[in-house]
């Protein structure tokens, strides 16, 4: 960087006026770019609107006697009524979300071949988890309500 010749007694300036202006301009432009990128990131990372909790009415609990196992296609779940009470299991494969097919003795996934027994326990991978239980309760009219 060529330093301007200066008078003998004064300290020399390492940058001349022209270089300083160029440097300042670059700095301001870089700041502009940074701000723009920041705005862009804020714009693109806006969280999607929270989907409100979904409720499905499965009908009167009395429709499902003890020991019954009912696939509710409209809600993508299987409803089990055991001595321990009602249980709703999601029929979405815990692997990558395909809808399971009921088959004798359990459920199988048409996409990658995972299998589950009729209580939702994992029999064969690639899935690594049992079927997901859904929150279920009875309302004051005695209807079973599933939330997910």
């Amino acid at each position: 960087m060529p330093a301007m010749p200066s008078s003998d007694n004064l300290p020399t300036t390492p940058v001349n006026r022209r270089d300083f202006l160029a440097l300042a301009t670059r700095g301001v432009l870089a700041l502009n770019g940074l701000l723009g990128v920041g705005m862009l990131l804020r714009f693109l990372s806006h969280p999607p609107a929270p989907s409100s909790a979904n409720e499905v009415d499965l009908g009167p609990a009395s429709n499902f006697p003890i020991g019954s196992q009912t696939v509710m296609a409209q809600a993508n779940l299987v409803l089990l009524h055991t001595e321990a009470g009602f249980q709703a299991l999601s029929l979405e494969c815990p692997h990558l979300g395909c809808l399971l097919n009921p088959e004798p003795g359990g459920f199988s996934c048409p996409c990658h071949g995972s299998r589950f027994d009729s209580s939702g326990a994992l029999l064969r991978g690639p899935a690594s988890k049992n079927l997901k239980p859904l929150s279920i309760e009875q309302n004051h009219e005695g209807h079973l309500i599933v939330r997910y």
């Binding site: 705005m39 862009l40 804020r42 714009f43 693109l44 806006h46 609107a49």
Partner: protein
Amino acid sequence: MRPSFFHHLHPPTIPARQARLRYTWGAGGFSVFLLLAVIFSGLLEVFFYVPTPEQAPLSIQSLTFLIPYGGFVRNLHYWSAQLLVLAAGLHLVRVIFTGAYAPPRRFNYLLGIGLFVALLLLDFTGYILRWDQDVQWALVTGTNLLKSIPGIGQWLYALVTGGDRLGAVTLIRFYGWHIFGLMLPAVIIGVWHLFRVRRDGGIAVPPPAQRQDAERINRTELVRREALAALFGAAGLVFLAAFFPAPLAAPIGEPDAAKQAALAPWFFLWVQQMLRWGDPFLFGVLIPVGWLALLALLPYFTPAPSAVELGRWFPPSGRAAQLIFSALAVTVLVFSLWAWLAAA
């Protein structure tokens, strides 16, 4: 300094007069800048806009009010689009009043007119994408105008609206035209237009032998000036976007509190004014298309300014074209003002 890609887009040197602001107004250059701004902001809008009649106005509201900088992006898109029409219009004014439409630039002049029409249609389709109460009558009358064309009217209407009534298919077609069907030709013709500027010998100036000043500037200087203009332009656009929100109204079909006078988008106000006088085919199609044809054919039936007269404003041998264009432009301005005052 090694020339960059942007330097290579320019000739190594040009006559200094070609880059003089008071000669060109930089209107063509600003148009390129604004086109880039409008494409960039439009791309961002595509991430959030949902082109269905129920969702379109709501997704715009969500973009405008709920997404951080969504309103800013929308304002940028709006203002760069409006200013683009203005800049392209001023570019046209400059070309006419400096005689730059004359051969060998006649064909490029036609390309420019085509670009201008594409810009107007882009602006109009973008306006319709709002799908709110402010645009509904422009949509209804604009598409019904097509029906008034004898013979092919019904076919054109079905082509544009996608059916026998306005609805979801219409909106998706306007969306398709806006982001693709018009955008792509506009960009292609735009690049062609720029290429032809160089091919036709650069911005119109007298041939080297008859030039009074021999001064030339190199492309480093040219790019520097363009970058400076773009910086000022960007600052202006960002100011506009920060303080002047793009218009938006309640969705079509919701109750509207006060029925105000329905106003066409500003660049079609003059057509709206003529439509008050009667026959839609005559006033809404024939006259505007005739106006456009007259404008496009100006270089073909008016005397061309001689090469030595180029490079300055109002060459005397271009009087015929200048007068006809002035008459056309003043008519459009007066009609637009008339329509605007009538509504206000």
